[in-house]
C-alpha cells in the first residue's frame, strides 16, 4: 500500500523502508525548537537525564518571543533560564531580543528549515513549516528535552486527510480565509491525530505566505501536521533564505486518505471565526454589525511582510475609528525593517495604529494589548479561546489582515471590499 507524503518522510527519518498508520516509531529529528515558556520546563527535564551535552548544538533553536522583551520579573527569569542554557551549551540558534522574532516566522526566514526536514517544537504552531514540505509538529517540553538530549522523538504514524485545491482566490481573500473555512467545515477536532495534506493545481496560486498561514493553523483542526508539496515557489523561498539542500517527498499515487476534500479557491469568501472556537467560521452574509474595541495585526499566522502589505493597502489614506486601538506587530526584525523601508509604517502610524517590536504579545494574552472585561478584538492570530487575549469575558474574532484593517477603520467587523481604496 502506498504512503502519504508525511508517512514517507517519517519512514525515512526512522530508517525504515515503509511505515503504516498507527505504527509507533522512533525517528531522528533535524531541529528541536523551544521558546521562553516551554524551554524552561524542558531545561529542568533535561537536567534530570543526567546528560551534560545536547545532541547537536546547531540543531536546536531557542527563541524568547512569548513574554519578551520581558514583560515582568517572572518572565525575565524564564528568559534568563533559557539564555544561560543557550550560553552553557553554545546553542548556535539562540535569538536574543534584538534578533528574535515570532518563532514560526523567524525559523524559515533564517533558513533553518528545509523541505524534507523532521522538526519538533515545544510550541503547537510548529506545524507552520509544512508550508515548505517539512514534517513539523508541536510537542511538549518533555519531548523537547528528550529531543535535545538524544536527537530523537517518538511518533505514532498518522493517517491523512487530503485537500485538493483548484482555482485561485478572489480579491481581498487569502490563506487565512481558506484555513478558517476549512476549520469551520471539519471542526476543531476534524483532523485529530491526522496529517492535513494539501495538493492540487490550486497550490501554485498560493503564495508561500498563504501556505505558512494555512499550515500554521492545522493544529486548530486538531491536526498533527499540515504539509504542502514542494514546488518552484517553495524551492525559490528556500534558496532565497539560504536553507539546506531540500529533500522532496511526494505522496504515492495509491496513498490512502481518510477523506478527500475538493476546494475551489474562487468560492472562498472573507471569513471570520467567532468566539470561542476557531471552528465558528462565518462569512459576511451570516452576521450583523459587531462593534469592536481592538484590532491586532501580527503573530505567527499573519505577521509576515505580505500580511502587513495587505493591511496597509486597506488602511492607506484612512484613519482608524476613535473607538478602536489598532496594534501592528511585524513578526521579525527583518520584516520590521522591510516594512519600514517600504513606507508601511507611515501608513500605519498616520492611520493611528501602534507599531510594536516583534513579540507574541497579545496573541496569547501576554502583554502589549490585553483586553478588559466585555471588550472585543478582531485579530489576525489563530486562537479565540475563552480568555485568550485577556479577561475571561473578552472576545476574539479571528480574521485575515484585510478584514482586520477594514474593521479598524470602521470600528465594527467589516468586509474589506466595502472600504474605499486610496
Amino acid at each position: 500500500m502506498g504512503m502519504t507524503m508525511s508517512q514517507k518522510l517519517l519512514a525515512k527519518k526512522a530508517g525504515l523502508k515503509s511505515v503504516r498508520a498507527g505504527q509507533l516509531i522512533m525517528a531522528d529529528v533535524d531541529l528541536v525548537l523551544g521558546n521562553d515558556i516551554t524551554a524552561p520546563v524542558a531545561i529542568k527535564e533535561f537536567d534530570k537525564f543526567g546528560k551534560t551535552d545536547v545532541f547537536n548544538k546547531e540543531k536546536i533553536a531557542l527563541v524568547p518571543d512569548h513574554f519578551a522583551p520581558n514583560k515582568d520579573i517572572k518572565a525575565a527569569e524564564q528568559c534568563n533560564c533559557m539564555r544561560q542554557f543557550a550560553r552553557k551549551n553554545e546553542i548556535t540558534n539562540y535569538f536574543e531580543v534584538g534578533q528574535m522574532g515570532v518563532e514560526h516566522a523567524l525559523l524559515p526566514e533564517q533558513g533553518l528549515v528545509t523541505a524534507g526536514d523532521l522538526i519538533i517544537g515545544a510550541d503547537s504552531h510548529t506545524c507552520t513549516y509544512g508550508a515548505l514540505g517539512a514534517f513539523s509538529t508541536g510537542v511538549g517540553s518533555t519531548d523537547m528535552a528528550c529531543g535535545m538530549a538524544t536527537g530523537q522523538a517518538w511518533f505514532k504514524v498518522p493517517t491523512a486527510i487530503k485537500f485538493n485545491l483548484t482555482n485561485k482566490f478572489n480579491k481581498n481573500v487569502g490563506g487565512k480565509d481558506l484555513i478558517l473555512h476549512i476549520i469551520g467545515m471539519i471542526g476543531v477536532d476534524g483532523a485529530l491525530y491526522e496529517s492535513m495534506e494539501f495538493s492540487g493545481p490550486g497550490v501554485k496560486n498560493l503564495t508561500i505566505d498563504d501556505r505558512f498561514t494555512v499550515a500554521n493553523m492545522a493544529i486548530e483542526a486538531g491536526g498533527k501536521n499540515g504539509i504542502f508539496p514542494v514546488d518552484d515557489i517553495a524551492l525559490e523561498y528556500l534558496k532565497a533564505h539560504g536553507a539546506k539542500e531540500p529533500t522532496i517527498f511526494e505522496a504515492d499515487s495509491d496513498a490512502e486518505y481518510e477523506k478527500v476534500y475538493d476546494i475551489d479557491l474562487s468560492t472562498i469568501k472573507s471569513t471570520v471565526s467567532f468566539p470561542h472556537l476557531p471552528e465558528n467560521a462565518k462569512t459576511f452574509d451570516q452576521f450583523d454589525k459587531i462593534n469592536i474595541h481592538q484590532v491586532v495585526i501580527g503573530s505567527c499566522t499573519n505577521g509576515r511582510l505580505s500580511d502587513l502589505r495587505k493591511a496597509a493597502n486597506i488602511l492607506k489614506g484612512h484613519k482608524i475609528s476613535s473607538n478602536v486601538r489598532c496594534i501592528v506587530l511585524p513578526a521579525t526584525q527583518q520584516i520590521w525593517k522591510d516594512a519600514m523601508h517600504e513606507g508601511l509604517f507611515d501608513i500605519f502610524i498616520d492611520a493611528g495604529c501602534a507599531v510594536s517590536t516583534p513579540t507574541c504579545g497579545p496573541c496569547l494574552g501576554g502583554h502589549m494589548g490585553i483586553l478588559a472585561e466585555g471588550e472585543r478584538a478582531v485579530s489576525t492570530t489563530n486562537r479565540n479561546f475563552v480568555g485568550r487575549m485577556g479577561h475571561v469575558k473578552s472576545e476574539v474574532y479571528l480574521a485575515g489582515p484585510e478584514v482586520a484593517a477594514a474593521s479598524a477603520i470602521t470600528g465594527f467587523i467589516t468586509d474589506p471590499n466595502t472600504i474605499e481604496e486610496n
Binding site: V41, G50, K71, D189
Partner: protein
C-alpha cells in the same frame, strides 16, 4: 495501578488556555500552576479538588497550545486520571510524557456526572462509577506507555533505560 476519587465533569474542547491560562505561564513551579488549574471554567476547582480525584471531559480534551503546564497543573492538583471521549494529540503526548494517566472512553463520559465516585484501573482500562454502580471498558495503554507512566514520565523512563 489504580486511581479513585470524585469526578469533575466538563464538556467538549476543554482547551489548555482554560486548564492553565497564559497569564500564569510566567512560572513553571508545579504548586503555583496547580493553584490556577481550570480557573477560567471552574473558579473553585483548585479549592475543591482532593488527592485522587478524576477529571472527565467530552471530546477533544486539552486542545490548543503545547504547554506541558496544562497536564502538570492537573497532576499537581492531585488528579489521578483524566477520562475523555477523545484527547487533543499534544495534550495526550504530554500527559504520557509526564506520567499523568489518561483514558479514552466515550461510554464512561456519558455516564459520569460531577461528584460521582469513580475508580480507574490503569493496567486494564476498566472504569467503575461506584455511585451509579456501572462499569466501562476504556482502552488500556500499550505496554510501552504503561512503562512510561509507571516510571513517572519520559525523562525517568529514558534515564532508567540508560542506567540499565
Amino acid at each position: 495501578m489504580k486511581g479513585k476519587g470524585s469526578a469533575f465533569k466538563y464538556g467538549d474542547n476543554v482547551d489548555t488556555d482554560v486548564i492553565i491560562p497564559a497569564r500564569y505561564l510566567n512560572t513553571s513551579v508545579h504548586s503555583e500552576l496547580a493553584k490556577h488549574c481550570m480557573e477560567d471554567i471552574d473558579a473553585d476547582f483548585a479549592k475543591n479538588v482532593k488527592e485522587g480525584d478524576i477529571i472527565v471531559g467530552e471530546k477533544n480534551f486539552g486542545c490548543g497550545s503545547s504547554r506541558e503546564h496544562a497536564p502538570i497543573a492537573i497532576k499537581a492538583s492531585g488528579v489521578s486520571c483524566v477520562i475523555a471521549k477523545s484527547f487533543a494529540r499534544i495534550f495526550y503526548r504530554n500527559s504520557i510524557n509526564i506520567g499523568l494517566p489518561i483514558l479514552e472512553c466515550p461510554e464512561a463520559c456519558d455516564n459520569i456526572e460531577s461528584g460521582d465516585e469513580v475508580e480507574v484501573n490503569f493496567d486494564t482500562g476498566k472504569i467503575k462509577n461506584l455511585t451509579k454502580n456501572m462499569e466501562f471498558q476504556g482502552e488500556a495503554f500499550p505496554e510501552f506507555m504503561q512503562e512510561l507512566i509507571a516510571a513517572g514520565g519520559l525523562a525517568a523512563y529514558i534515564k532508567n533505560k540508560g542506567d540499565k
